[in-house]
């Protein structure tokens, strides 16, 4: 199959859906002529024009309000927040308006927008441009949160997100933009709320999100050489979550390591751990549930410090090995 980068897969999804559905448009800072801060929307303004690829002033609240309003009037907008960190400025529209409207109008109004948010560290962009804030939005009823880890999932999930009638926070991984993988040319969706077993194994389950999926797979490859068979589960959609697949996997292996980049305290891993502990998988646990997550500190600018702030492959290998060998 043809290979695309994660970035190209997202662009192709936008392009195909805009051709298919005239209600879809893109709005954000520098998404037009400049092609987006990371180049995701490059070339789109030439095809679709400035009416459908809209550059905005530097106002995240404006973007969030515009897509909320447009969605309410029947459009299917895709907003872009240049760095997920800046959703702080948009949060009134997202949390108090977009997430609530469908419920407060008894289901008669829908807010079918997607807000794309490049997130994560590893680019030397320092504390205000490196955060993983997905769990803030997971906590808000009414929002869906999607976090693709491969080019294939990125395209399929974005198409599903645009077609979904609810506001979707689409968390893109900056570090993954250049990674390549097979992506079908045709239109396809990856349903929201469906997790994926990225690698099957019997000794240990790693539930990883976003960029950590790739690191977990690399760790699994190393551990396989030691005879430790790791199963890597990617939730893909944080909300709604496919808890069943995770519970099945943990029930099978009896050991689980949860890995995410976001800060540990109050992170998504706590929710996953609770779901596992509350489920029938509890009776199959042969070791404590272990979380591996970002340190509880702002991402440093210094590249060495930055590297050590979030889980790396070697950290995952070590944690998984200890868990698999019954040393935890």
């Amino acid at each position: 199959m043809r290979e695309l980068s994660y970035l190209e897969a997202i662009r192709e999804a936008l392009q195909q859906e805009m051709r298919r559905d005239p209600r879809v448009f893109v709005i954000g800072e520098d998404v037009g002529v400049y092609g987006g801060a990371f180049g995701v929307t490059r070339g789109l303004v030439e095809e679709f024009g400035e009416q459908r690829i809209i550059d905005t002033p530097i106002s995240e609240l404006g973007i969030a309000g515009a897509i909320t309003g447009a969605a309410l009037t029947g459009m299917r907008p895709v907003g872009e927040i240049m760095f997920m960190d800046f959703t702080t400025l948009a949060i009134e529209q997202l949390v108090n308006q977009a997430a609530k409207i469908r419920f407060m109008f008894g289901g008669t109004a829908t807010v079918p927008f997607v807000l794309r948010c490049p997130a994560g560290s590893g680019t030397g962009a320092a504390a205000q441009h490196s955060q993983s804030l997905e769990n803030w939005f997971v906590h808000v009823p009414g929002l869906k949160v999607v976090m693709p880890s491969t080019p294939y999932d990125a395209k399929g999930l974005l198409l599903a997100a645009i077609r979904d009638d609810n506001p979707v926070i689409f968390v893109e991984q900056k570090l993954l933009y250049k990674t390549r993988g097979p992506v079908p040319e045709e239109d396809y969706t990856v349903p929201l709320g469906k997790a994926d077993i990225k690698r099957a194994g019997r000794d240990l389950t790693i539930v990883a999100t976003g960029v950590m999926v790739a690191r977990a797979l690399e760790a699994a490859e190393q551990l396989a050489r030691e005879g430790i068979e790791v199963e890597v589960v990617d939730p893909r959609t944080l909300k709604p979550l496919d808890a069943e697949l995770i519970i099945q996997s943990v029930s099978k292996t009896g050991r689980v390591l949860i890995v995410h980049e976001a800060a540990r305290t109050g992170g998504y891993g706590g929710e996953l751990a609770a779901i596992i502990a509350e489920s029938e998988a509890f009776d199959y646990l042969d070791a404590p549930i272990v979380r591996l997550a970002g340190r509880d500190m702002p991402i440093p600018y210094n590249r060495t410090l930055e590297y050590h702030t979030v889980p790396q492959v070697e950290n995952i290998v070590e944690a998984a090995r200890q868990l698999a060998q019954g040393r935890v």
């Binding site: 009776d283 199959y284 646990l285 042969d286 070791a287 019954g326 040393r327 935890v328």
Partner: protein, 425 residues
């Protein structure tokens, strides 16, 4: 008001009964009609049911204790109620043991799962304080009580606990290989593998209840009564034809065993010395012909008695035998149903046994063992034909019966089986 649980008198001559087993425990909530305990007499084992709804309290006798009939053996109390005053059958007031358990309060409820776990884990529910709504004892309370009495600081992973539960393994006995000595799934699995690798231990089933009675009576009979066994075979084609014809004519299905009862009863009328019981003092000729029929139950053999079998029609015998067999299997025979037999019939034909030597059912003087019909070449006139033949083995107590007398009785049995119309004479 406290309702007494009284050891009932099950037959006129009965003085005592032995408690074999309590089916519920003191402090347990019981319903009217719920079986509380098993008692046995020499002859039968009977369930004693609760006379009321309430809480079982004041149990005065344990298993294996022999108690005079009409004794108050326990009481059923309403919640919060005190034990009532008790008199023994001889009118003596009984000083009751002080209550060793706290009666549940009015609103005390135990969830079904907590009750089940308490039974499984051997936790005394009365010692558990309830943390649920309205003081309800919930699962966690039982678990807490169980772990409090278990070894302190036992660490085990949930998976290890699950495997131990499923495998019936005591976690405290499993060495833990995990961090801080935590018992891991692999530790339990190792122990399970080890225990299944060992050959299972021989199981001792103590003689109890009915089994103990059988053991005692058969030993006594075999050791004290000098047995003689006489064998004869009978062509049963005629009796079989009669049986079939009568089954079609009447409402009752006449079985071969019913025919045998009839034949025995008829022959016993003609041989009163065989219809007798034997003691050291002498032999007692029985006025009634009461034929016992051995019925096999999972827990042992029982011999319900058809009284005055010689006076009954075949359909009456069929009804009586059917009734006794059904009640024997249901465990609802009364002592009277198994008392006063003067002769016993035991048939193993349905198992394909051709002949066997039965042990006398004391104090009876004789017993007949009947085997399976076997098609046998038989001389009829000048021809050899195949006829179903049954082997009859008469066991007799030689103290009372000599071989010749037993032989005459056996010959009449054969004659009546081969020519059933003889019984009409």
């Amino acid at each position: 008001m406290a309702v007494p649980v009284i050891l009932p008198k099950m037959e006129m001559s009965q003085e005592n009964a032995t408690i074999t087993e309590w089916l519920t425990v003191e402090g347990e909530t019981v319903r009217k009609g719920q079986p509380l305990l098993m008692v046995e007499t020499d002859k039968v084992s009977v369930e004693i049911e609760s006379p009321a709804d309430g809480i079982l309290a004041g149990i005065r006798f344990g298993a294996q204790e022999t108690v005079p009939v009409t004794t108050v053996i326990a009481q059923i109390l309403a919640p919060g109620e005190e034990l009532g005053a008790v008199e023994d059958p001889d009118g003596q007031a009984v000083s009751l043991k002080t209550q060793e358990f706290a009666l549940p309060a009015d609103d005390r409820v135990v969830t079904p799962v907590a009750r089940r776990m308490a039974t499984e884990l051997g936790v005394d529910l009365n010692a558990v304080s309830g943390s649920g709504p309205g003081g309800r004892v919930v699962k966690a309370d039982v678990e807490a009580a169980a772990s409090a009495t278990g070894p302190r600081g036992l660490r085990a992973s949930p998976a290890a606990r699950r495997l131990a539960r499923a495998g019936g393994i005591d976690l405290a006995a499993v060495p833990g290989s995990g961090p801080r000595g935590r018992v891991q799934a692999a530790d339990v699995q190792a122990l399970l593998a080890q225990s299944t690798a060992e050959s299972p231990a021989d199981e001792l089933i103590p003689f109890a209840g009915m089994r103990a009675t059988i053991a005692r009576r058969m030993t006594e009979s075999y050791q004290r009564a000098p047995h003689i066994h006489l064998r004869a075979t009978a062509d049963v084609s005629a009796v079989e034809a009669t049986r079939r014809r009568l089954s079609e004519l009447g409402d009752e299905k006449i079985t071969f065993t019913v025919m045998l009862v009839k034949v025995c009863a008829w022959a016993l009328c003609h041989h009163p010395r065989v219809n007798a019981t034997v003691t050291d003092a002498g032999m007692q000729l029985c006025a009634d012909v009461n034929v016992g029929v051995a019925v096999s139950l999972p827990e042992g053999l029982i011999v319900p008695v058809i009284r005055q079998a010689d006076q009954r029609s075949l359909s009456d015998l069929a009804r009586a035998l059917n009734d006794l067999t059904v009640r024997a299997r249901a465990g609802t025979l009364t002592p009277a149903d198994v008392a006063d037999g003067s002769f016993t019939l035991t048939n193993l034909g349905m198992f394909g046994v051709e002949s066997f030597d039965p042990i006398l059912n004391p104090p009876q003087a004789a017993i007949l063992g009947v085997g399976a019909p076997v098609r046998t070449a038989t001389e009829v006139g000048d021809q050899v034909v195949f006829r179903p033949r049954v082997q009859l083995t008469l066991g007799a107590d030689h103290r009372a019966l000599d071989g010749a007398i037993a032989a005459q009785f056996l010959a009449d049995l054969v004659a009546a089986l081969e020519q059933p119309e003889l019984m009409l004479l």
